[in-house]
Subunit: 404 residues, 2 copies
């Protein structure tokens, strides 16, 4: 008799954003006349940049012609894209990454969920708390997290690194020694960042204790301050201890277009075993490449026009972030983030729980945000708003919140 | 100190098609003047159908406009696509599958590799031998296969079901009881099929022993004979024991466009646990949908024009298959398949091993095929040619082989 992966049964409830989606659907069905403003799930709203659209039309035409048709892509992704990535995201910042250390994928969510597969099941993970739920959930599925302690809302074998207003949302080095450390900066959900000097401490720590860092830099394009690193490889020796995840979802609006990449440096080893070779094997066996058309779209993000156009999009969202941040502060909320990230993290008023405030905002002013507790136990009592709405909706939402 | 997934170290050599790619690259570099004909990897060569191209242009335009832009897709895939799948692939054949049993993905390779994640690590797998390498390799990575016995070229804990000329490439029910049974019909690599009555025996057997069948129907569009089922759900009670994998790669030339889907019926349970719910959770946590543009492309495959155009493509490839099959038989080879599948499976001449014949064909007549032994121990002494080349190249390849 076949058996299921029992670890799945440990997962409480469903994936955070699925739950939100269902709540919003139910509310909309019951209140068809209400105009909901969605500042919840981190989904973008601006259309793709003209340079990207143009590149895709061209690639679609190529796919319609026998002479220029493209079948299976190279395992790691097309060289034209990996070269553009290396030149623009790394070389331009003085970081030396080679094209065979870049693995093009269908997005950072898949990669952050799948990367655990090349690691042993007994590794102990450390995560920022709160944090993007996929890190923990995918490790639950792999059996690394121990048991769920419902009354504490935490897993018995996960090292939580609290990020709260008390430590300015910057985690301290853990007291217990982890094997795998998930870091995400600029942080989702708190919008906090880390300076290069602070990140260097994590790199040094990981090397000292023999841990690997999974560094999620999906929001690096939103960094506005000088001393905040865009890549962990800006830190000395990071190539010997860190994997970096990158996404086109937020820097170029590819949430529905699907493209990302993971950097696994050749220097990163466990004994004699190269993690680059392991991920190459995983990538070659359980994945078959991002679509040619989408890889061409990704290349266009790095063209001169593409860079200018996506920079404008980011400026647009960061203006929204400023409106939300300043609006909330002006209305008496405690609000954080929104300077180097499209996320604003606020303390719920009147000691409401995160989900109470979610329901309150949805029902009273028809605004969808994300409950902080969905990102981890230390997120309880916080709430996330995103800057990815339209300017008009963002303004309207802040007016509604001010008038509660 | 972090540990790697040690199962990866058990994998001998690299993924079959990566090895072939490297051998061909080396040969091409050393012999730049030789015109290689590739009948190896199962990659298509015809451009995408006009209806698909048109749908993608339209979708690209939608992505460039704020009013019609699409961000994150629904977890299971867009309803327009799942509805088209249900209507055309199932309802039209008298099979009742609902749209929430369809999970749209980036292709059957990913799904066939990932589906194992929802099953326990102690399940014992049974595979046709020879077979598409991803089934075994992904289970090696999960630790289900035991140790590799090099001199027997097999895994200690895998139940191999030999498919050779002796049994007309149709596996017999295994003597040892498996928990998970991988079946692929029309078969890759042998091109063999199974009748509905024969498949019903597998369904009945799976139910009797409590096994789950992972049914890979990626090549169903190539079926030309009446009594060969296109879906396992044409068999009675199959919804209580089988998951079905489908692909757009071969029926519509999407190898470089990436789209597939998996059917997990709600009736399929392990005790009280619905596998549909488990796969939904996996899908929602570790995947973020196929691109909107590509899902629209998939929808167009089911339009009247799309159906007519992709049918023509399949007829084109099946004409190639006929040329290869008849050419090989005429030249004195023992050849199989090519009637309900785009694959022709031949016995190597002069007792050559599969890789010897690979090198021989590459060096003597500059034709790339796939060594049968790469698909499993019972594939030794066989060789796969595919019908996915151009008509002209297929004719030329057969002429070259005839004149060896």
């Amino acid at each position: 008799m076949f058996q299921i992966n029992e670890n799945y049964l440990k997962l409480p409830g469903s994936y955070l954003f699925s739950t939100i989606g269902k709540k919003v659907s139910a509310f909309t069905a019951a209140n068809p006349d209400k105009k909901i403003i969605r500042l919840g799930i981190g989904d973008v709203t601006l259309p793709l940049a003209p340079a990207v659209i143009e590149a895709m039309h061209k690639a679609v035409d190529e796919m319609g012609n026998a002479d220029t048709f493209h079948g299976y892509a190279p395992d790691l992704g097309y060289e034209f894209l990996r070269t553009a990535i290396v030149e623009n995201d790394y070389k331009a910042r003085g970081v030396d990454i080679s094209i065979d250390e870049i693995f093009v994928s269908d997005g950072a969510k898949s990669d952050s969920g799948n990367i655990g597969e090349i690691f042993g099941d007994n590794n102990r993970i450390a995560v920022c708390d709160p944090v993007y739920p996929v890190y923990v959930d995918s490790n639950v599925m792999a059996g690394r997290t121990g048991e769920y302690i419902a009354d504490k809302e935490r897993w018995s074998n996960v090292i939580y690194m609290p990020c709260t207003a008390d430590n300015n949302f910057s985690p301290e080095l853990p007291k217990e020694t982890p094997d795998m450390i998930y870091l995400c900066f600029p942080n989702n959900p708190t919008g906090s960042t880390i300076t290069k000097a602070e990140l260097q401490k994590w790199v040094d720590y990981a090397i000292k204790v023999g841990a690997v860092i999974i560094y999620d830099a999906a929001y690096e394009a939103y960094i506005s301050e000088e001393d905040v690193p865009h890549s962990i490889y800006e830190c000395k020796d990071a190539k010997s201890c860190a994997i970096e995840l990158r996404s086109f979802s937020k820097n170029a609006g590819f949430t529905g277009t699907r493209l990302g990449f993971t950097v696994v440096p050749k220097e990163l080893k466990c004994g004699d075993v190269s993690l680059n070779a392991l991920w190459a094997r995983r990538h070659g066996t359980k994945f078959n490449g991002a679509p040619y058309i989408i890889q061409r779209a990704g290349e266009a993000v790095y063209s001169e026009a593409g860079k200018a156009q996506t920079k404008e999009q980011i400026a647009y969202y960061m203006n929204n972030a400023k409106i939300i941040r300043e609006g909330l502060l002006g209305a008496g909320f405690e609000a954080f983030g929104g300077v180097n990230a499209p996320y604003i993290w606020l303390k719920t008023p009147d000691k409401m729980t995160s989900w109470e405030f979610f329901d309150y905002l949805l029902e009273k002013v028809n605004i969808v945000g994300t409950p902080g507790s969905g990102f981890g136990p230390s997120g309880e009592g916080y709430f996330r708003l995103t800057a990815f709405g339209s300017y008009e909706n963002t303004l309207a939402a802040i007016e509604r919140i001010k008038n509660i």
